[in-house]
């Protein structure tokens, strides 16, 4: 039977996009479906740490070794998504010397470059570190933008012929006896680029092989074909600070615990995290005390955090998995290794494998191993090239940085734009049109917004993850509307309004966890702006009934009335 595609990948996170790129580069025909935007699941809800492996150097040396290998690969192939910040494992007076020594030895055993800094040397690197930090181990941790990385993988997969469908939710697995041969998806407005205010359709997509890369949602997908996949979703909270209090990744050097990492991320710093098992990856409590406790604990490392402004908090769900019968109680003890479940071997059902577990830093290596497995199943002999081929945006990064063209932009805006776009900077920013800054907090210009819209239709959240527009301190209060404005006239008013509402709602979702101090003032100002200048608290244009515009006059009737009174005196 002829199939629509050779391989169908479910899930548009780092794993799914990595697999799609890998297989497409090997010449396979690939389709990827994702229920929301790319990165909507766990990938877009991580702290952005590019592991050096230091975190696992004592507890899980195999993972640590993989991390340092992949860390080095990503610096090469994804330079425009990676910031080489370096990282510190800092020791407080109450933290064990013995563990510090184990950490240092562990790093060296795993090939992770590690160097001990005295307390004052560490404070010289990071002036806001607490005065009583005893010493630190310096490792090559980095910061990575998961959005850009994931999108770059998807774009490159498309370049190699893959079909990437976002906003296409899997509603059924197609199973014929003991063979899975595809899925049925519900397109939000598709197929193709998303267009708001356009009714959806369903589509059956058949494939020779299906890869279930839905992470924490793998169990739900499996259940559609009566397969049991015991993922143990575990939630963790992350809080985004308004500015970078640190420019180096700060880890606490202790065996394990909540709230022990600060990652500088673009203009912000992200605090992480906690680890608590949940039943449903789509429905779990998000509680304020989790945020408060994390800020308190991390203030022991960087005291200024206590008074600092947070702009939002978010929760992510880890796709933890352990083989049946392991029975680990504490989710922090569950391995971070990944598992490839071939349902043919495991359940006697052919045509599909599921990936569970794993971590972001090693996404490429996981994708390589899974792609090898898929190729073996399909009898394809092509080999993996993803470790050597730079992602779009990361070609010739070194030469680019030497160029330093400012494209007529103010220098910090030009610098940030170049960093985000990498080797695509010239293609995107060189324009004869006026190129005003649309998002002032993050320094995003109209040209960059338009480039993102060209990739993703009316989906402003997709524009957001590509550009960082609306991710700064006003959380979109000032720029959501100008962003939406760029959709017009290609898209009509109704579509633009819906797109704007969706983005603004998404911003509010995280900002509501930061409503005290300065961010509360920000939220009030945002509200006032949108309510009073755009009438968005009571907009007649959004009502279902049509507006009687004739009822609004130019004030002449009232003027005539007043003039009449004056004349009569």
């Amino acid at each position: 039977m002829a199939r629509d595609t050779e391989v169908l990948v479910l899930g548009g996170g780092s794993t799914g996009c990595g697999i799609a790129r890998d297989l497409a580069m090997r010449g396979l025909e690939v389709t990827l479906v994702e229920r929301g935007n790319l990165t909507d699941g766990t990938t877009g809800r991580m702290h952005g740490l590019l592991h050096s492996g230091g975190r696992y150097a004592v507890s899980d040396q195999a993972s640590a070794t993989e991390c340092i290998e992949e860390n080095e690969v990503l610096r090469e192939i994804a330079g425009h998504c990676v910031e080489e910040t370096g990282g510190l494992f800092v020791q407080r007076p109450e933290d064990s010397d013995d563990y510090f020594r184990q950490k240092l030895e562990g790093c060296r055993e795993c090939g992770i470059p590690a160097r001990v800094l005295s307390g004052s040397e560490a404070r010289e690197v990071e002036p806001y570190l607490a005065d009583d930090i005893k010493r630190a181990i310096e490792v090559p941790d980095g910061a990575v933008d998961p959005f850009r990385l994931c999108v770059a993988n998807a774009i490159d997969a498309e370049t190699y012929g893959a079909r990437i469908e976002t906003h296409a939710e899997v509603i059924d697995l197609l199973r014929d006896g003991d063979d899975i041969y595809g899925v049925e998806v519900r397109h939000d407005s598709g197929p193709g680029k998303r267009t708001h205010a356009t009714s959806g359709t369903t589509e059956e997509i058949t494939a020779e092989y299906v890869v279930n890369a839905t992470g924490a949602w793998a169990g739900q997908i499996g259940a559609m074909a009566d397969l049991e996949i015991a993922v143990r979703p575990s939630k963790g909270v992350m809080t985004i600070m308004n500015v970078r209090q640190v420019d180096t990744v700060i880890n606490r050097c202790h065996p394990k615990g909540d709230a022990d990492i600060i990652v500088p991320h673009e203009t912000t710093a992200i605090l992480g995290t906690t680890d608590e098992e949940v039943d449903d990856p789509d429905d779990y409590p998000e509680e304020q005390w989790e945020v408060d406790q994390m800020i308190d604990t991390l203030s022991e490392l960087v005291p200024i955090l206590k008074e600092a402004r947070t702009i939002r908090s978010f929760w992510g769900v880890r796709p933890l998995y352990e083989p049946p019968g392991t029975g680990t109680q504490d989710p922090t003890d569950i391995t971070r290794d990944f598992f490839l479940l071939d349902h043919a071997d495991r359940d006697g059902v052919t045509g599909m494998s599921s990936i569970v577990g794993g971590k972001f830093t090693t996404y490429r290596m996981m994708a390589e191993q899974i792609s090898d497995h898929v190729c073996e199943k399909l009898g394809v002999t092509a080999t993996c090239a993803t470790a050597d081929e730079p992602l779009p945006g990361s070609e010739n990064i070194a030469t680019l940085e030497a160029g330093m063209d400012d494209f007529g932009l103010r220098s910090p805006v030009a610098r940030r734009s170049r960093q985000r776009l990498g080797s695509r900077a010239r293609e995107v920013l060189e324009t004869d049109e006026p190129n005003p800054v649309i998002c002032q907090c993050e320094g995003v210009t109209r040209a960059e917004i338009k480039d993102a819209i060209a990739q993703s239709g009316t989906d402003l959240n997709a524009v957001r993850i590509r550009t960082r527009a609306s991710m700064g301190n006003c959380q979109g209060g000032f720029c959501c509307q100008p962003m939406a404005n760029e959709l017009h006239p290609e898209y009509d008013e109704k579509m633009v309004r819906e797109a704007l509402d969706e983005l603004f709602q998404e911003r509010w979702k995280g900002e509501r966890h930061a409503l005290w101090g300065e961010q509360l003032s920000q939220a009030m100002l945002n509200y006032a702006l949108h309510a009073t200048t755009m009438n968005r608290d009571h907009d007649p244009a959004s009502a279902t009934s049509t507006v009687d515009f004739a009822a609004f006059d130019d004030g002449r009737a009232e003027r005539d009335r007043i003039d009449g009174i004056r004349g009569g005196r």
Binding site: R410, P412, R415, G443
Partner: protein, 443 residues
């Protein structure tokens, strides 16, 4: 203690290998990113910025301050060149409803720009360095004041200044006094009142010393009238023109001298009084924001504007009640300098003069004069400076007065330049009312 137990931190005494880290970071390395936390982008600063109002190319204080700082990584030093268009009037500081340290951000960014991005060989750098260090050139000028004034007044000199240095030829250089204030003070035999209970240290600044000693003398007579013992400590430039030109290292050297000398005066029981509103602004706000010499905070906390101090510690208005200035002065068009405004002093002069019979100070509104120290002296800023000042000029001409009044030397230059009025300092009026012109002239 064995070697193994020797803590790696901080080293003990005799630990010669230990390389000490710099205890106080250089100002250009100050990390002001956390200051951006206070900004919720309301843009009130932008709407109060006099430069943004007349120059569409200037992005305004919100960009210069919190936005630019927030976009910075520790190692980024490419400050946008628009920071040199900021006139350092510091209105944004007062306008901000949320305590964003705007002028501190501008001063630090400007210093970083000059350090990292401006060629040390450029004409702009040397012109700015010269303007900023007026205090170093002034003693040369005032050595032969008449010759200097003659030379500076020549149109050939002005033409050369514009062509060679980029100093506008539109303005006339201020004249040097034939006797500096400090020369007068020494000749006079110093303080004529001794009073251990009421003592002030006078920070006259450069302009009142070299160019308008009549202002400094007026301060001396007014304060002696109230029974104060006056000290005139050694002093350097307050730093205002250096901050405004990004010459933070020059400012640091000056500030170090000033803080040391003024801190000694504080120990002698004196309060610090300035007659120039930019000098008092600098000591009170910019020093603690940018430097941390010992005594900086104490000096800042005990520095006062000359009129403000008398209003708080004496019954100034009561003393002025029923006085007059005779024919010496008539009604004034009064301009409150931005730096006085920032200290909350914008209303005091009108109120104080109200007590004197026969004269009135007409407030010409809250616009900026536009000159902002050295800013309006630069060829490239002259036009902007005059555009900003146009509102003040108009209001001065509309006011029922034919002479001007202010407390800032450069505002005074601008007022004179734009209207041709003679400009007086408030202390000179108080002197005339309290001490009388005859007595004053007699000294």
């Amino acid at each position: 203690m064995s070697d193994a137990q020797q803590p790696t931190d901080d080293g003990g005494p005799g630990d010669d290998d230990f390389e000490p880290i710099q205890v106080f970071p250089e100002a250009e390395e100050m990390d002001l990113r956390p200051g951006a936390d206070n900004c919720y982008k309301c843009s009130t600063c932008d709407t109060n910025c006099p430069v943004a109002e007349v120059d569409d190319e200037f992005p305004g204080p919100k960009f210069q301050g919190p936005e630019q700082w927030r976009l910075k990584r520790q190692d980024d030093h490419d400050i946008d060149d628009s920071v040199m268009k900021c006139s350092n009037c510091m209105r944004c500081d007062s306008a901000c409803p949320s305590e964003v340290p705007l002028s501190q951000m501008h001063n630090t960014a400007r210093a970083e720009y000059v350090e990292e991005n401006m060629s040390k060989l450029s004409r702009e750098y040397w012109r700015n360095r010269m303007l900023a260090n007026y205090r170093r050139l002034a003693p040369l000028g005032s050595m032969f004041p008449r010759t200097t004034n003659f030379m500076m007044g020549l149109s050939a000199t002005q033409w050369l200044g514009e062509k060679l240095l980029g100093i506008t030829g539109q303005r006339e250089f201020p004249e040097f006094a034939t006797e500096t204030f400090r020369e007068w003070w020494t000749a006079r035999g110093g303080a004529q009142v001794e009073n251990a209970d009421k003592r002030i240290a006078y920070f006259h600044g450069c302009y009142a010393n070299y160019n308008t000693p009549e202002v400094a003398k007026a301060l001396v007579r007014v304060y002696e009238h109230f029974g104060y013992e006056i000290m005139v400590p050694n002093q350097h430039c307050s730093g205002t023109p250096m901050f405004a030109n990004g010459m933070l290292e020059d400012a640091r050297r000056s500030a170090e001298t000033n803080v040391r000398e003024l801190a000694w005066a504080l120990e002698d029981g004196a309060d610090i009084i300035a007659s120039c509103s930019s000098c008092s602004m600098s000591l009170r706000q910019e020093y603690p924001e940018l430097f941390d010499f010992e005594g900086t905070e104490e000096v800042a906390a005990n520095t006062w504007d000359a009129v403000e101090y008398l209003r708080v510690h004496e019954d100034l208005e009561g003393e002025l009640e029923g006085t007059s200035v005779g024919d010496k002065f008539d009604d004034f068009a009064y301009h409150a300098p931005c730096h006085a405004r920032n200290q909350g002093l914008d209303g005091q002069t009108v109120e104080v003069l109200d007590a004197i019979d026969g004269i009135t100070a007409h407030d010409v509104g809250d616009s900026c004069s536009g000159i902002s120290g050295t800013y309006g002296w630069k060829k490239e800023n002259y036009e902007t400076s005059m555009k900003i000042g146009s509102e003040m000029f108009e209001h001065m001409e509309d006011a029922d007065a034919t002479s001007g009044l202010t407390e800032c030397p450069t505002c005074s230059m601008q007022m004179e330049h734009g209207t041709g009025y003679e400009i007086t300092h408030t202390l000179e009026v108080l002197e005339a009312a309290l001490v009388g012109p005859a007595e004053a002239d007699g000294q």
